[in-house]
Symmetry: C2
Subunit: 364 residues, 2 copies
């Protein structure tokens, strides 16, 4: 099963979260970021590793996005992140071409603060860059007994909209987190494609065959052997075919483009066909105060009840248990806090190379 | 193609929207509703017919939901729809077991009014019943230059969550509408299943074969010939299989349950296994003032630009044009305003029977 195999790393170097965060923060600081913001950014990235979302952790993303982005100037290392438009329950925050990991924390904290007054608040962020795993920002709402929601759009065109030949949108993820009491919280974090861009990219790195429906060639035919074929031309939207709901995946991707990009005034990637990188990234954040609707303790008790009931449902053939979104990540977190984060050889080689290049001690 | 064939009706009676709304309103009033609320409810239902969403129009839903619901007392015909909890940007509205079509309009109007002050507002509605096509309420935001969003959960258990054997959630639709200027607005209205419950139900009525992945038997095998098999045990979530994103459809369905039911304090359908009808319906509404983020005229001009660009993309094999969510409905609307709404023989027979039973003149 490719979904599992992508997480299997041969001969990993296993590192605890704290020294990894420290080291990654030092690299980002050496690449030009302010010290406090580099630590924040590293925390977001290592969090993805801790919860087992390897596609969005330090192993792939420092090399794929952040260090080249900072060093080339595509990401402004010391942005002036600022509010440009505001009402009691909303804000537009210009990320000043900064790193999405910093703009994301700033904007989600602002949504949380505003929601204290108005019950619900949304913040849209144009002019940003890749912000890592969306679920991180949604989960920021949980300690405040709030529901968190975020989306991100932009970047390289990946989704081939239903009926179209060519990719047109980013993978445009949507995430939502809702607090529970004793059970791990509900956290959905999903690309609006069949699978995330990272899964297809990692399959190519490791030469792993992928299922039909994950990636298409320019001819429209499925790519299943990324190691021996050109890179995928694009990826089908969630639903994959018209009969199975590709118009829904397309629509969810467009919804993300509208809230992240068009609402605060940034061109969507589909409008920039001559730019191979597509548009800048833009984000949307929302916080909902549970006790604006009813007492938070009652809500969380009912969340526990729902999540337990679903876990205890009889299973379908081929499954040994029913899991809900957020549960595998909570289990991975426990495992990796206990045992450390596995990193592949090529990631370690890249870290050593960048440490040397940026004059940072290699401490892993 | 079954998606098209479901809309083909043999020997239809064709009726204009206005007399149809008048007649349907009279039936609902005779079933116990207040006059103004019965007209509002009929308007929502006929709107679905006008935009070509036959699964949610008067033809199937008066018989499937509303007249039996009103006459059996499951739907309170004269509810005391009232706000039970409120902050500047949120409200909980108790629908008092009333008809969802009335509660839905009440709650979306409240969200729109609140958003004028706070920029964004959400209203959750427990203790309701079926509210028709979700997209109607999302579109209510458009004349106010707002983005509208709604979800509905509850009712019979239909979605079989990924990994589970049995259905556990309703089809839990999500809808969002965003205004444009010259182009038809973006409107997505999607069940979080592969297809809506109505599509499978209508396929059974007409004896039409359906694709694999739309419905499953108790054994877990796909049902494709609903005419010659037991009714579907349940329907797969959007994504259909794990490899193709069924965990995403499951998570979107749970997100809907959380915002519609758990947030305002209503048990989700999955917690009521002994009730074949599942939980009561609950809804969630949100309005976002575009000019809380930037001038609405600029937003709508950019929406036009995006929608036109997507329509003009080169097509994939098998498609003669690229369409976006909301565009087919806008085209159907024009067609049916001009030519009338086609109704099947069995719907007309039911209307005549109910007119006689309720002492209403049959005027179509």
């Amino acid at each position: 099963m490719v979904l599992k195999r992508l997480k299997e790393i041969e001969n990993p170097t296993v590192v605890a979260a704290e020294p990894l965060t420290e080291f990654v923060g030092s690299l980002m600081q050496a690449a030009g970021m302010r010290e406090n913001e580099s630590r924040e950014a590293a925390t977001v990235l290592v969090d993805a590793d801790l919860i087992g979302i390897d596609t969005h952790g330090v192993g792939y993303n420092l090399e794929l996005h952040y260090l080249p982005g900072l060093m080339s100037g595509f990401m402004n290392p010391q942005p002036d992140t600022r509010i440009t438009h505001e009402t009691p329950g909303t804000a537009t925050v210009d990320a000043d071409k900064g790193i999405g990991l910093v703009a994301g924390r700033f904007a989600m904290n602002l949504a949380i603060e505003k929601a204290r007054q108005t019950g619900i608040a949304s913040v849209a962020v144009p002019n940003s860059s890749h912000y890592g795993a969306a679920g991180y920002y949604a989960r920021m709402a949980l300690p405040h007994d709030m529901i968190g929601l975020t989306m991100s759009s932009g970047g390289a065109r990946v989704i081939v909209p239903m009926g179209a030949r060519d990719p047109w949108m980013g993978t445009n993820p949507i995430a939502m987190a809702a607090p529970a009491n004793e059970e791990p919280p509900f956290v959905i974090d999903m690309a609006t494609t069949v699978v995330s861009f990272g899964k297809v990219a990692i399959a190519r790195t490791f030469g792993v065959e992928i299922p039909e429906g994950w990636a298409v060639a320019e001819s429209g035919e499925y790519v299943t052997d990324p190691a021996n074929s050109p890179p995928a031309h694009g990826q089908p939207p969630l639903g994959e075919t018209h009969e199975h709901g590709a118009h829904k995946g397309t629509g969810l991707g467009m919804m993300t483009d509208i809230l992240c990009a068009i609402l605060p005034g940034e061109p969507v990637s589909g409008l920039l066909p001559d730019n191979p990188k597509g548009g800048r990234f833009c984000h949307y954040f929302q916080a909902i105060r549970v006790d604006a609707f009813r007492p938070a303790d009652e809500f969380k008790a009912n969340m526990d009840e729902m999540l337990r009931a679903l876990k205890n449902e009889p299973t379908a053939d081929g499954y040994d248990r029913v899991m809900y979104p957020g549960q595998p990540e909570a289990e991975a977190y426990q495992d990796r806090v206990d045992s450390g984060i596995p990193l592949a050889e090529h990631s370690i080689a890249y870290f050593k190379q960048m440490a040397a290049e940026l004059g940072v001690d290699y401490t892993l």
